[in-house]
Each structure stands twice: as structure tokens, then as C-alpha cells.
């Protein structure tokens, strides 16, 4: 009986310790649990897949390092998909801390596909005001970003010879740990009819389903699971796939803890009634 009572009040340090072990073990020795493909992820993949060669995808790295494990694999996977399909990539960020993260993507992934800077891809850097930047991109990208991140005049870059505004962009993908994808919907989709997709942290994904069902988002990646699904679709397993086992085990552990807590709670409740 004492054991059942104990179940309702396990010391939190024991919970922390078990959680640490359950996260570390799958990271050291992967279990290779299956990763399915959900509809929101497949929709985004299919949308990019059906674009003609040379189409332009705008990747907005709207997150900072705090959500790096969830959001960065998404951005990498999408950049990889875009460039492997011979589409053109315009990268920018609306988060000041996102420049370093976008820079990592832009300096690594295009090299895998021998892409040329300024022609196949470009990094525009950061602009401070979200509203003015998103609306301005709908008028003239070169006026909002007269120079790219590296100080080149955007007028001189080959990619902008036939790309002026949203009319020439097939899709905007906003990867974010905040409500920024909604701003893209209100401003770019609402005013210019631009197709938008989003990648967000797992805790935020539920908030974005209304926009997905109405077609305002063409696709949605939710948390590390969404990133792992995308990695599976592009056949390049990376950061997210390796982290999924740890995520799965920790989820199960939390469920077990909740069940244990409830067994203890019910027992204590019954004893009080007696």
C-alpha cells in the first residue's frame, strides 16, 4: 500500500534522471523506429516536387538558436530539396538571431549540389520590420534588400534578373519558433495571394492547423517529427531522424509517468473516501 501511495509523489529528481537516461541511450545506440509520413508534410514535399526547373522558393529562417534542434533540420531539408530539384533558393531572415543559422545553411548545402551564388541561390540577410519587409517583398525585393548579406548589390545578381516580387516566387517557406508564419499569411498571402508553407516547433503546430485546412498553408512541418518525415521523403536522413528515437522514448516515458501518477492519485483518493 505504501508503494501505491509513493507512486503519487515520486521525487522530481528521479523523473529527471530517468528522462536523461532515456534520451541519451537512443542517441548513442539508435533504435531506428519507423517514421511515417503525415499529410501536411507530404503536401509541402509534393508542392516543391512539382515545381518546374528554375522556379524560385523563398526560405525565411525566422527562428533563433533556442529552437535549433527542431527548426534547423527542417530548414536544411527544405534547402536541400529545393537545390537538388534545380530550383532557385532565396534565403532571408526576419529574426536578427537567424542570420547565423541561415548562413550555416547557405554556406554548406549549395556546395553539395555545385550551385552558384547569386545565380542559383542568394542570402539576403535580415531586415528589422516584419510588416514592412513582408509587404515590401510583394512590391520589389531589390528595394527592400538593395544589398545581400555579403554586401553585393542585388541589382547585379543574376537571380534577380527575372525575379522582382511575389509574382516570381512559387512558394515562401517560413521556419519559425514564433507566430511569424501567421504574419506571412496575413501580409503575403492576404495581400498578394502568395503560397505559404511553414515549419514550426511541435508545441506550436496545433495552432497552425486552421490555416492548413483552409489552404492558406500548402504544407506544415511540426517539430522534429515533421523534419524527420521530410528527411525521409528527400532520402537524406540527418539531424532530425537521429533525434526521433530519443523523442519517441521520452514521449513514452512521460505517458508512463502520467499513468503511474494517476494510479497513485486514484489510490490516495479511495483511501481518503474510506
Amino acid at each position: 500500500m505504501k508503494f501505491l501511495e509513493y507512486l503519487a509523489k515520486i521525487d522530481r529528481r528521479i523523473i529527471y534522471l530517468i528522462l536523461v537516461i532515456s534520451i541519451i541511450i537512443p542517441l548513442i545506440k539508435p533504435l531506428n523506429l519507423p517514421v511515417g509520413t503525415s499529410h501536411p508534410v507530404k503536401s509541402l514535399f509534393d508542392f516543391i516536387e512539382k515545381q518546374p526547373e528554375g522556379a524560385v522558393i523563398l526560405l525565411s529562417v525566422d527562428y533563433d538558436a533556442s529552437v535549433y534542434p527542431e527548426c534547423h533540420p527542417m530548414a536544411r531539408a527544405i534547402a536541400r530539396h529545393v537545390l537538388s530539384k534545380n530550383l532557385r533558393l532565396i534565403c532571408l531572415t526576419l529574426n536578427p538571431a537567424g542570420t547565423g543559422l541561415a548562413l550555416e545553411i547557405i554556406t554548406q548545402i549549395p556546395n553539395e549540389y555545385n550551385k552558384k551564388y547569386g545565380e542559383d541561390y542568394v542570402f539576403l540577410g535580415f531586415r528589422p520590420d516584419i510588416t514592412a519587409t513582408i509587404l515590401g517583398l510583394g512590391e520589389d525585393i531589390r528595394k527592400i534588400f538593395p544589398y545581400d548579406y555579403f554586401g553585393n548589390k542585388t541589382d547585379t545578381l543574376k537571380i534577380f534578373k527575372d525575379v522582382k516580387n511575389y509574382d516570381n516566387i512559387a512558394l515562401v517557406v517560413s521556419i519559425s519558433g514564433s507566430a511569424l508564419p501567421v504574419s506571412w499569411i496575413y501580409l503575403a498571402r492576404g495581400r498578394y495571394g502568395q503560397d505559404i508553407a511553414a515549419g514550426v516547433t511541435a508545441v506550436m503546430a496545433a495552432d497552425y492547423y486552421p490555416y492548413l485546412r483552409t489552404g492558406q498553408f500548402v504544407g506544415l512541418l511540426g517539430g522534429m517529427k515533421g523534419a524527420a518525415e521530410y528527411e525521409k521523403l528527400i532520402n537524406k536522413k540527418e539531424l532530425a531522424t537521429s533525434g526521433m528515437d530519443a523523442i519517441s522514448i521520452s514521449h513514452i516515458l512521460i505517458i508512463i509517468f502520467v499513468i503511474i501518477g494517476n494510479i497513485g492519485y486514484i489510490f490516495v483518493l479511495k483511501r481518503r473516501k474510506k
Partner: protein, 205 residues
């Protein structure tokens, strides 16, 4: 008097002009709109400078008062050191500035966020109790969604991920849509109140 009236008048005028501009497709209207966008970008850049200066002043004040001294010194040192390193060595990939970001900022921020997992596990264990019918329903749907979104859901039965997706697509959507409509109406009401000068909190008083 003027400190209050002038910003309110500018807000009223710009609110009305941009509202009507949206419905006027003429080229002069478009030029006006583009000019305003460039102005907003310029003003926003000043806001960043203002924010940094305000942050530095706040922490210098704390250092003078010897309040949370180590934290304030760390912040002031970090701001000036990274700025200086960025100006001298550049901000391109492979520079010291880039290394500071990759090897200090990313691990620190990621670790802060990762700690949440432990709090969530502990809080779920303590607070997630089947106290009544509503709480039990919440508990069960949380279990289904949690199992459904991880790989094990597929192993148990293909129906589990589909059911989890249904919970997200239907009951979750219904609740979120209601909230979104409420928020949308709230935004419209607040915008009208700001344009008409009824809502004045943005003036900072």
C-alpha cells in the same frame, strides 16, 4: 499637450490614408504605399538602436547600484565584445564572430530550451490527473496524440497515427478556429480604437 496630440493626429491620418490606399489601385497610390514601406523600415532600424541603447543604460544603472552585478557585467561585456569582433573580423562564415555564434550562442540557447523537457515531464506527472470527465478526456486525447506523432504509433496500429491526426484536424481545429475568429475581431476593434484615439496605451502613458 503637443506630445500627445501630434502623435495621435499622425496615427489617425496614416491609419485612414493606408486604409483607403488599399482600395485605390492607381499608380500614385502604389507609390505612396512603397514610400511608406521604406519609411517603416527606416524607423524600425532606429527602434533597434533605441532598444540596444536602452538595454545598455538599464544594465549600467544596475552595475552602479551593484544589483545582479555578474549578470549585468556579462551582458555589457558580451554586447561590446561581439560587436567589436564583428566590426574588426567581419561576420562571414568561419570568422570569430561566426564561431562565437555557433559555439556559444547556439549551445546556450538550445540548452535553455532543452531544460523545458524536464519541467514538462515533471509537470505532466504532477498535474495531469483524471479528476473529472473533462480532465480524463483531455488526458486520453493527449495520450493518443503523443503516441500518434511518434514512430511507435505506427508500430502499435496504423489507425493510431490517423486517429491522432483526426484529433488535430477536427476537434483541435474547431477550438482554434473559434479563438482565431475572436482574435481577428479583437484586432479590428483595437485598430479602430487606435486610429480614433480611444486606445492610447501605445503613447506609453
Amino acid at each position: 499637450m503637443l506630445q500627445k496630440q501630434v502623435p495621435m493626429f499622425i496615427c489617425f491620418l496614416m491609419g485612414l490614408l493606408l486604409f483607403f490606399q488599399f482600395y485605390i489601385p492607381a499608380s500614385w497610390s502604389q507609390n505612396f504605399y512603397n514610400t511608406i514601406l521604406r519609411w517603416i523600415l527606416g524607423i524600425s532600424s532606429f527602434a533597434i538602436v533605441l532598444g540596444v541603447v536602452s538595454l545598455i543604460r538599464h544594465h549600467l544603472r544596475k552595475i552602479r547600484k551593484k544589483e545582479d552585478l555578474p549578470y549585468s557585467i556579462t551582458l555589457i561585456f558580451s554586447i561590446f565584445a561581439t560587436t567589436l569582433i564583428g566590426f574588426i573580423g567581419g561576420i562571414k562564415s568561419g570568422t570569430l564572430f561566426d564561431k562565437i555564434f555557433n559555439y556559444i550562442q547556439i549551445p546556450l540557447q538550445s540548452s535553455m530550451f532543452a531544460i523545458l523537457a524536464f519541467y514538462m515531464a515533471s509537470a505532466a506527472y504532477r498535474a495531469f490527473r483524471a479528476r473529472n470527465v473533462e480532465a480524463t478526456l483531455l488526458l486520453l486525447s493527449a495520450f493518443v496524440v503523443m503516441i500518434g506523432v511518434i514512430g511507435i504509433g505506427d508500430l502499435i496500429h496504423p489507425f493510431v497515427p490517423s486517429f491522432a491526426q483526426w484529433i488535430l484536424d477536427v476537434p483541435n481545429l474547431a477550438a482554434k478556429r473559434g479563438i482565431a475568429i475572436g482574435v481577428g475581431l479583437g484586432i479590428i476593434a483595437t485598430s479602430i480604437k487606435i486610429i480614433l484615439g480611444i486606445e492610447r496605451n501605445w503613447l506609453g502613458r
